[in-house]
């Protein structure tokens, strides 16, 4: 939740890599954004995902939903293609309003 709040009004970039360290399968999702004078990285999620492109896309959708106020809000649009390893760029401009609402007049049921 804090990450979603922090990323409001930012252009964020996502780096994904599928790893399988000693039998532990993970699709690691990292977010990167520009803060004054430097780039800043944040680990979003390391949950496992299937091997197909479709399953990987679903694996990205789930953690991106955790950044949003409500699941499937049109607030965090990913700009994505898929390959063995990909870097994804996302813009979070649209989430500003929803996050402002949450911080100023929060609703306990949404938290």
């Amino acid at each position: 939740m804090w990450l979603g709040h922090e990323l409001r009004n930012s252009k964020i970039h996502m780096a994904c890599d599928k790893g399988d360290k000693k039998g532990i399968s993970h699709l690691v999702k990292c977010l990167v954004r520009w803060v004054p004078r430097r780039a800043e990285k944040r680990l979003l999620d390391i949950d496992a995902a299937g091997d197909t492109s479709k399953e990987c896309a679903a694996g990205i959708k789930a953690p991106m939903n955790t950044l949003k106020l409500n699941d499937d809000d049109n607030t965090h649009l990913l700009f994505v293609g898929w390959g063995l390893t990909v870097v994804v760029v996302a813009l979070l401009n649209h989430c500003a309003n929803t996050w402002s609402r949450l911080v100023s007049a929060p609703q306990k049921t949404s938290m």
């Binding site: 360290k21 780039a39 990285k41 390391i46 760029v89």
Partner: protein, 498 residues
């Protein structure tokens, strides 16, 4: 992703593959297409490297070190001219002579084999034959190159170690089986020449670009976020791969080929065959480079290069604007004008730690831009125009002046684009550490996420007068407080509104 409603409009997003993986796949394609893939039923250079790793893994560490100790002693003291028969039986003498003949055959492969006697009591094993070798996998970073270098350096020791393993272990035991295969593969000069080619290619090409990608923090202060330098790196990589067949970079390979062809009746034909193989190897690598790296010179990612160092950024800006001549540079920009002497302008790049031939770079960038469709956005064109006019320097991070909005727009769009994904793996490592304590998947994830934003590095960021450990603890406390306080505030807000 599109059916899931996760994508934004096509003209706003960029997609690219990891730079390190691209370089790695260069090697993979070149090796596979020139020599074939490895496999238990295969006899080639790659399988030879795998067998060496398997042999090392098939015996205990102590056994392996003892074998290598004896083998290094043999390699150090061996005199091919004088074989000590001692009190051997005729059969033993025959076997020993047979081994020495094969050993001399391998010894003639190259003149640069290491013949150092190892110190079994040494604690520092790195660089010695006792160091543990990682499994050479083509898709795993530098492992194949490291294995090839190790094999080349300690070829004679490994050869003797194979014979020792064959002698010590029964024929039904795995080490004997592997050592027999490896021994047979090592005698074949073809495998050796191919292995040397892999080593040369790694040393001359792969290693330096890996090193740069893993160490450069130019402008962004973060490893792996070098999108603005990737177009220049593409140019440097292309230049390197063009020159790899000549000069000193493949000297060892040429020597190995020369030794392999020496004394053969079909020497000239063999030499031509090896040279053709080298050609195929390099061409495969270059084809792959030009398949994956042009993403960095596409209209969507080329704007990132406008934030590179001054002279290279100017060249990119002029090419983006399709100006007919390349820009000129003042003497204080670090550009050496060698047009009259050598027909080039040279810039010593601090970010790349290499000299960039700006004239060739200009031609290269224009070729790349001509080969792709699409135009840059109006904002990029405006930035390029201001850059060409000398009104802005995008290689600085001061957003406070008149160009602040432009700088912020360009930087926030282009600079955080990850150029490599190695840092992403740290997340997997965090998960692996956590999983060692048998925690559930959800807890593993939480701890990995928390760990990733916790300042655990070695820095005296809080108080330089205090020790590293104290600084680290204080930084962790401060970070925890910073992350927790908004939640406390939100919780309080909720209670107030209820």
């Amino acid at each position: 992703m599109e059916p899931l409603g996760l994508c934004a409009p096509e003209d706003e997003h960029v997609i690219m593959a990891c730079g390190i993986h691209c370089v790695q796949i260069e090697l993979k394609n070149a090796v596979t297409n020139a020599f074939g893939e490895g496999g238990l039923d295969k006899v080639n250079a790659l399988q030879m490297l795998h067998s060496m790793h398997r042999l090392q893994e098939s015996v205990t560490r102590d056994e392996w070190q003892h074998i290598l100790n004896l083998s290094s002693e043999f390699a150090f003291n061996c005199n091919p001219e004088n074989i000590d028969g001692g009190e051997l039986t005729p059969a033993q003498r025959r076997n020993r002579e047979s081994f020495h003949n094969k050993h001399n055959h391998v010894l003639a492969f190259h003149c640069k084999f290491k013949k150092e006697q190892v110190d079994p009591s040494a604690t520092k094993l790195k660089g010695t034959v006792l160091s543990k070798l990682q499994q050479p996998t083509l898709a795993r970073w530098w492992t194949v190159g490291a294995a090839a270098s190790f094999f080349f350096d300690h070829c004679l020791v490994i050869f003797h170690a194979c014979q020792t393993a064959i002698d010590v272990f029964d024929s039904v035991q795995t080490p004997n089986d592997i050592a027999s295969d490896l021994f047979a593969m090592m005698i074949d000069v073809e495998n050796f020449v191919n292995m040397v080619l892999i080593r040369c290619f790694n040393k001359a090409h792969i290693n330096q670009h890996f090193d740069w990608m893993q160490s450069c923090e130019d402008l962004t202060q973060e490893l792996g976020c070098q999108a603005h330098n990737m177009a220049i790196r593409f140019f440097l990589t292309d230049r390197d791969i063009r020159g790899i067949m000549w000069g000193r970079s493949t000297e060892d390979c040429h020597k190995a080929v020369k030794s392999a062809c020496k004394g053969r009746e079909d020497g000239v034909t063999e030499h031509t065959r090896h040279f053709t193989k080298l050609n195929i190897f390099v061409n495969e690598a270059r084809d792959l480079l030009h398949k994956h790296f042009p993403q960095w010179t596409s209209p969507k990612l080329m704007p990132a290069a406008l934030s590179s160092e001054g002279p290279t950024a100017c060249v990119v800006a002029a090419a983006t604007l399709k100006r007919h001549v390349m820009p000129t540079f003042a003497a204080d920009e670090g550009v050496a004008d060698l047009m009259h002497a050598a027909g080039k302008m040279e810039f010593c790049s601090e970010a790349h730690k290499a000299a960039v031939n700006l004239t060739a770079f200009d031609a290269f960038i224009r070729r790349q831009l001509d080969s792709v469709d699409g135009n840059c956005s109006p904002a990029v064109i405006a930035a390029a125009e201001r850059l060409c006019a000398g009104n802005v320097n995008l290689h600085e991070t001061n957003h406070a002046d008149d160009n602040g909005a432009l700088l912020w727009s360009m930087h926030s769009t282009c600079l955080p684009v990850p150029s490599i994904l190695q840092f992403v793996e740290s997340g997997v490592k965090e998960a692996k550490h956590v999983s060692a304590t048998d925690r559930s998947e959800a807890i593993q994830k939480c701890l990995a996420v928390v760990g990733s934003c916790t300042p655990l590095g070695k820095a005296k960021s809080i108080n330089p007068k205090l020790s590293f450990n104290v600084n680290r603890i204080l930084a962790v406390l401060r970070s925890s407080e910073m992350h927790a306080s908004p939640h406390v505030q939100w919780s309080n807000n909720q209670e107030c509104t209820q």
